[in-house]
Subunit: 296 residues, 2 copies
């Protein structure tokens, strides 16, 4: 629950944004919402006390803090700094918080553009998926000025459980990229280990149990255990979104001059899963690709 009531604009009512905005509405914040497909914003307004608008300028002028939760970097850039976008419509002193998973260099660039118009900006991507969004248990990693972080903290605490200020502008997106790198490679690691075991006639439960007791232990083996064992890959974190996130990590690495060989491989494996029509499965479906590659 926020200590202070703030007028909030919320842009992007997708699978993540909708429940996040819902939690803000239930915490008592006056909300103005916008969504590319306006019907969703209208439905949100019907279900809550929020106002829905088709105009980003109208949303911006009505809000002290504006949250964006969008598919990726192109939508983030267009919405925040495009013609008729949030920066151009925002009042002096407005705080824009981009909670999308987006590009670290873009986050830095947008923060600079915002500052030039008297607007503050935070990058604050999340992990925890749609369940975390619904249950307000998201992990939120925030880049930007400390004073802006403190200003937004009560709002973050409505939407998430772990809220961490990780550095200056762009740092939130870097930590999110780091997170997606590790999750992808751990999934691939467990997949290769399990398929080797399958072909050698070892029960996968034995592998998961023994590995879980030592240095190989990891959260993916715990959380995805049933998916690995049953082969039911209902998402969860979807293949197509994880592939998008690895694209951001690799593009960022390219700009920073960093070589990420294993991340690049994981990115290609996700690309193959998408080519095979498995883009909507849980990211743990990487194991199906290792099986395909090993003769099924």
């Amino acid at each position: 629950m926020a200590n202070e009531i703030t007028s909030i604009g919320f842009v992007g009512l997708g699978i993540m944004g909708y429940p996040m905005a819902k939690n803000l509405a239930e915490a008592g914040h006056p909300l103005t919402v916008h969504n590319r497909t306006h019907e969703k914003a209208a439905r949100f307004a019907d279900e809550t006390d929020a106002a829905a608008t088709e105009s980003l300028a109208e949303l911006a002028s009505a809000s002290d803090v504006i949250i964006t939760m969008l598919p990726g970097p192109p939508e983030v850039e267009e919405t925040i700094s495009g013609d008729g976008g949030l920066i151009s419509g925002a009042k002096d002193g407005t705080l824009i918080v981009d909670m999308s998973t987006s590009s670290p260099p873009l986050a830095k660039k947008l923060a600079e553009r915002a500052a030039g118009s008297g607007v503050s900006m935070l990058d604050a991507p999340v992990s925890g998926g749609d369940v975390g969004a619904i249950e307000s248990t998201l992990s939120i990693m925030v880049g930007g000025e400390s004073s802006d972080f403190e200003r937004a903290r009560p709002i973050f605490e409505v939407m998430g459980k772990t809220v961490t200020h990780v550095g200056e502008s762009g740092a939130g997106q870097i930590v999110k990229a780091a997170n997606q790198i590790v999750v992808a490679l751990v999934i691939e690691a467990v997949s290769e280990a399990l398929v080797l075991g399958e072909k050698g006639g070892v029960e996968p439960e034995k592998i998961l149990d023994v590995l879980g007791g030592g240095l190989a232990a990891n959260k993916v083996m715990e959380v995805k255990r049933e998916k690995f064992l049953t082969g039911d890959f209902e998402a969860g974190g979807k293949v197509k979104f994880h592939h998008k996130d690895l694209g951001i990590a690799l593009e960022t690495a390219r700009q920073f001059g960093v070589a990420l060989p294993a991340t690049a491989l994981a990115d290609q494996l996700f690309a193959s899963l998408i080519a095979k029509g498995r883009e909507d499965l849980d990211h743990s479906a990487l194991i199906t690709l290792v099986r395909d590659m090993s003769g099924g």
Copy 2:
């Protein structure tokens, strides 16, 4: 402590074998030891009540259970089934337990050869490193017949903390290979995440803390945290041994018809570390290679 006193032969008093045999001696088992460099066996005999012998045949005839802890598959095959090796010297009903990290198909083959001579065999590789060997906290993964596993269990419990029967002959080695695959790839994953963060100006502690709270959490980040943060890569699990283990995993995959693309990449990265003279560093030194590749 063993329930029953068994005459044990122990072959291979290296960094792992020496403390393992020491713990067996302290548990009261009559021991005969052998080491390629005999001085080490003689020293062991001086420190304990054990007998040291240069003859594998002599060791075999004096023992009900024989444990081998050797560098790798060639030494295992030669010692167990070579001319003048353990199988040829063993009494009927002897149990040979290979605790080396070796090849799953070789473990199966040796068990068959042993059976042909009235000798039983288990493959029982360990994880936990030299500290685990000294402190009797090894994790032991065992392949072979249940009755042989039960016979050896009291001996395993002197040397390790977690003892698991994972399947038939070769299964212990498969689970060990699976373990080494996951550990290697998690190290590489964390390394790529941290180097991306370094180049983007994010404190590594922030990355480790945030990732440790979510789906990216893993034991490597906990256990190797200080190594990643300080750059002091005193081993621990050495690069050269992990590289050997991945070679076994890939050779096994080749025999099983399994494709392990990320494991193959990790194997090559370890090969590069060795080429750069870092073979004796801890395996977490993979991060130094990612840094090298990214301009230092």
